[in-house]
């Protein structure tokens, strides 16, 4: 079992290396400082979302509302900034909103017994609907220049956006490995009844993971706003798929109790490399989605195979 898991991550690592070598050879622009920084900026948002998703997947849950919450945060933040709100206050407000959305997901799932898939599917359409209502369906302009400047700024030679991802990965990994909450997350994913009989408060853990997810969707939405420098009500479509794909690619099992923030980071790296490479190689961008879809199927098939093996 342990060996098999190791192998899956080894394969992932080899895939990254192979992709990078292939792209470095095919395009001389690929390994340049500016393209690597570009990859980092692209990856920042997706990585943060993948890390949030992996935490939820470890509990054997799922959250499909990711993209819609990113859009909701993007529109709310843009509206406020266009109306000259103080930037820290506006960010605080949207983070409270997104965390609350996550908390509501947790309540609906735990207390009302709605399966996570259905509960968050509902939240996905509700949040999108609210986004469209607030924006009237049109883009929001007039954000301060400083917002866009932040997206292109560097700190210690690394894009500021990427620092958010680094902090998210490190903090989440510490939560998962070093805290009580982290252990309870894995225990819930492995066997909720055994966890309950060991005195774990399943309600709080469920609330906690979905609220943490919501908080990270909020961070993703804020980063998205700096990159877009406007509010786009249709943004974030399909982000949930990318986040799930990255989490699973990084070793998370949809059956719960397996996965790590670092794994999700590498999963996101593989996907961003494919997107970036496709652009550099002038591949029709529509192909990107197909490739991602195929990869997702292959990974889940591997996941199933792994589960079967471990049951034998």
């Amino acid at each position: 079992m342990k060996k098999m898991k190791f192998n899956t991550q080894m394969i992932l690592f080899l895939v990254v290396v192979a992709l990078w070598i292939f792209l470095a050879v095919s395009s001389e622009y690929f390994l340049t400082y500016s393209n690597i920084k570009n990859i980092m900026r692209q990856m920042a948002i997706q990585g943060v979302l993948a890390v949030g998703m992996v935490v939820i997947i470890i509990t054997a849950g799922i959250d499909l509302s990711v993209g819609s919450v990113v859009a909701l945060v993007n529109i709310m933040l843009s509206k406020m900034l266009a109306n000259h709100f103080s930037i820290p206050l506006a960010i605080l407000i949207v983070l409270i909103v997104s965390t609350s959305v996550g908390l509501i997901n947790g309540i609906v799932i735990y207390d009302f017994g709605v399966p996570a898939f259905i509960a968050t599917l509902a939240m996905m359409t509700i949040a999108r609907g609210i986004t469209l209502l607030i924006s009237g369906g049109s883009n929001v302009f007039g954000l301060p220049r400083s917002v866009a400047n932040f997206a292109s700024s560097d700190f210690l030679g690394i894009p500021s956006l990427f620092w958010f991802l680094i902090i998210t990965v490190v903090v989440t990994e510490i939560i998962l490995r070093k805290t009580r909450f982290g252990k309870y997350i894995y225990a819930l994913g492995s066997n909720p009844e055994a966890a309950r009989l060991s005195g774990v408060n399943l309600r709080l853990v469920t609330y906690g993971v979905y609220a943490l997810g919501g908080f990270l969707w909020g961070i993703g939405g804020v980063l998205e706003t700096t990159r877009l420098w406007m509010g786009v009500p249709t943004t974030g479509t399909g982000y949930e798929l990318d986040a799930i794909a990255a989490a699973v690619l990084g070793g998370a099992s949809l059956f719960g109790a397996e996965g790590s923030a670092l794994g999700a980071f590498f999963g996101a790296l593989v996907m961003i490399t494919i997107y970036n490479g496709a652009v550099l190689l002038n591949i029709n961008p529509f192909w990107q989605r197909i490739i991602v879809g195929v990869i997702l199927v292959v990974i889940v098939a591997i996941d199933q195979f792994r589960k079967k093996r471990s049951n034998d």
Binding site: Y186, E193, S198, E258
Partner: protein, 504 residues
């Protein structure tokens, strides 16, 4: 058909890891005969039935059905031969109608479309044979029926396939007395039309009403077969008992203060249960499946709701309304179903052992990894858990070692009151003896243990006294000097109107 036997089993043996479920068993059933199959929990009755219906295959032995030798019995062949079974825990599809349930395996159809009218008509016919056509509507969904009527549907399904051999596995467990009478009438009808019947029940008085013969199994071995006319309940019970542990594990311990007192505990499955545990005591809890043993354990531990009743810990009234409060009161539950309730199988030995203690060994939510590791190592060593290292996931361990991990986590939580529900289930002999030693060690150090088991020899071999449950009540409290297997079994089986006893 030539020799007049519906079933002949010759020299059947079945081995499961750690237990020989059947040892060289012969079993015959004549055409039109009603034979009771009796024995204690774990005597091998279910295994024998599962071999007949093809759910298990025998390791050794021959099966003849109507004189024809069956090389490899499968559920499909079994059904084709006209063998059909009614189980205690009804296997019905609740969202389908009565008619659909009766004919689930062979829905009447035209060009692959189910014909509703034909289905209704045929279901009505079957129910008419049971004289229930006026009472149960074939178009009603099964989930809307009473449990007793669901039982009738299960019987209807069994006889609908023109069954020639019907096996009833504890059929009256869910039936009311009225339905039980109906069932007996149905059985005698079936018998008249030359259907052969195997009847399993713990309710011995039923056997005397409807069976021709009683066949007794013990420890997977055939004991005796008696004509019902020539025997009585007490004699049958005496044949069922008599198993012994290889050696006695009992040690004398110092009995201390009362540590747990349960008063009038009541919920859906429990009726006014009273019990006390003292420090240094190992108290057995015996009862048949469905007597409420597991429900009592879960209720005390706060895992299930209680409607009424008080729980005192060391003389102090406590509201153990959830498992966390139970743990804080030094209670521990080793659940019956280790894999589904006791362990997080995908997590490591270290994490499973520490699960109830993370609360204690963390500050501001951060775990003290050093203590975590030391705790795991300490109990792996103390209980001699065989694992390459503490980082191994528990799903890779053997049953006995998994059970030791469950015990280890409660030792780590410094529990003083252990409720152990079938702790030796599915573990091999060596591990069983180790678990007994651990229990003795715990009691010697002042812990109290409530030891639930269906295997009476182990209760008699280690417990200071034994409580017996029957139909949600504690009906007897038997001290070590008064141990008598027949008496204990009689308390568990007989459906007399017991008053709850004060079991201190």
């Amino acid at each position: 058909m030539q020799n007049g036997y519906a079933i002949e089993l010759k020299g059947i043996s079945k081995y499961f890891p750690g237990v020989q479920a059947l040892k060289n068993v012969d079993f015959n059933l004549k055409l039109g005969e009603v034979k009771a199959l009796i024995g204690e929990n774990g005597a091998g009755k279910s295994t024998l039935i599962k071999i007949l219906t093809g759910a298990y295959s025998a390791d050794e032995g021959e099966i003849y059905i109507f004189g024809q030798k069956i090389e490899k019995m499968t559920p499909i062949i079994s059904e084709k031969l006209g063998i059909s079974a009614v189980y205690q825990n009804l296997v019905l599809a609740p969202h389908l109608t009565v008619a659909e349930n009766i004919f689930l395996s062979e829905l009447p159809s035209k060009w692959n479309f189910v014909s509703k009218s034909m289905l209704f008509k045929k279901a009505k016919e079957v129910l008419k044979r049971l004289e229930y056509h006026e009472i149960i509507n074939p178009n009603e969904k099964v989930k809307n029926l009473s449990v007793a009527h669901q039982g009738i549907v299960a019987i209807a399904r069994a006889i609908s396939k023109n069954a020639k051999i019907v096996i009833f596995d504890e059929p009256t467990a869910v039936l009311t007395s009225k339905e039980t009478e109906e069932l007996f009438r149905i059985i005698s009808e079936l018998k008249k039309s030359n259907v052969s019947i195997v009847y399993i029940s713990h309710r011995l008085e039923e056997i005397f009403k409807i069976c021709d013969k009683a066949y007794v199994l013990k420890d997977g071995e055939f004991v005796i077969e008696k004509d019902i006319k020539d025997t009585n309940e007490d004699e049958l019970i005496s044949y069922m008992v008599g198993r012994k542990l290889k050696r006695d594990f009992y040690i004398s311990k110092e009995k201390g203060k009362e540590i747990l007192r349960v008063e009038n505990l009541k919920n859906e499955k429990l009726r006014n249960c009273n019990l006390s545990l003292f420090e240094g005591e190992i108290v057995g809890l015996y009862g048949l499946v469905g007597s409420g043993r597991t429900e009592l354990a879960r209720a005390i531990f706060g895992a299930d709701k209680i409607d009424n009743g008080k729980i005192y810990i060391s003389g102090k009234l406590e509201y153990v309304s959830n498992t966390l409060k139970a743990i804080n009161n030094k209670l521990a539950l080793i659940p019956e179903d280790r894999r589904n309730q006791g362990l997080a199988l995908k997590l490591s030995v270290k994490e499973n052992i520490n699960l109830p203690v993370y609360r204690k060994i963390s500050k501001f939510g951060f775990i003290n990894s050093k203590i975590e590791k030391e705790t795991a190592l300490e109990y792996v060593r103390k209980l001699d858990i065989k694992t390459p290292d503490i980082y191994k996931t528990v799903q890779n361990l053997s049953g006995g070692n998994q059970q030791k991990v469950v015990i280890a986590k409660w030792l780590a939580s410094e529990a003083k009151i252990f409720i152990m529900d079938e702790p030796t289930n599915g573990v091999d002999v060596g591990a069983k003896e180790e678990i007994y030693s651990i229990m003795n060690e715990l009691a010697k150090n002042g812990a109290a243990i409530l030891f639930i088991s269906s295997y009476m020899p182990e209760l008699m071999g280690i417990c200071d006294r034994i409580l017996v449950m029957n139909s949600g009540r504690i009906v007897a409290n038997i001290s070590r000097e008064e141990y008598d297997e027949e008496k204990i079994l009689a308390y568990a089986i007989k459906t007399a109107n017991f008053e709850g006893v004060d079991s201190k």
